[in-house]
Symmetry: C2
Subunit: 113 residues, 2 copies
């Protein structure tokens, strides 16, 4: 078993301006099927449009923003759960005044943007 | 894409006294690999010892408590991330004064306690 506060996991650049990521559960902890990350996106910033073969499931811990696909835009708030199917182009945007903090779970293997 | 606040998902009995569950992302939303649930455990309550073939990954949203295996007990607080390997007997306990609210992600298929 592995238990740790996410704040004690090293934060790394997340692949976009104003985006950081903590890999809180990964293969290093024994995971074999999916990984859990905590992303933080600064106010006014957005992640690049990207897609991958792996569906992902996310949960908004704090902040406000939106998620955009080629077909729709949905509002995000504390408590929002998000399912993005495989191969759907998507992008996160922070439209609030505080950091947008999101738990994101993604199946192995992970395709980067 | 599917976006919804977890509070708008119906809460159901969670299989133990004082335990409720919301299935926030499941096959109904198009998930094919893993499901996300939000559990709420009342103060003083615990889930039964159980194990299953599917590893799971969890995140404590609110409250305080502990998770117990046959070998160890770890403290839980807001922000704790938890990885439980396959076939490890485990039990959650709320030792605080408020509800213990946990996001729990588990691979399909799901074995119940």
């Amino acid at each position: 078993m592995y238990v740790k506060n996410y704040r004690d996991v090293q934060s790394e650049p997340g692949g976009a301006d104003g985006l950081t990521v903590r890999w809180v559960i990964n293969a290093s902890q024994g995971a074999t099927n999916f990984a859990m990350r905590v992303f933080e996106l600064e106010p006014g910033k957005e992640s690049p449009f990207h897609k991958h073969e792996n569906e992902h499931e996310a949960f908004v811990l704090a902040g406000g923003g939106e998620i955009e696909t080629e077909e729709e835009t949905a509002k995000l708030e504390e408590g929002s759960v998000i399912f993005v199917p495989a191969y759907v182009n998507h992008r996160f945007r922070n439209t609030g005044l505080d950091v947008l903090r999101i738990i994101d779970v993604i199946r192995f293997p992970i395709a980067l943007p």
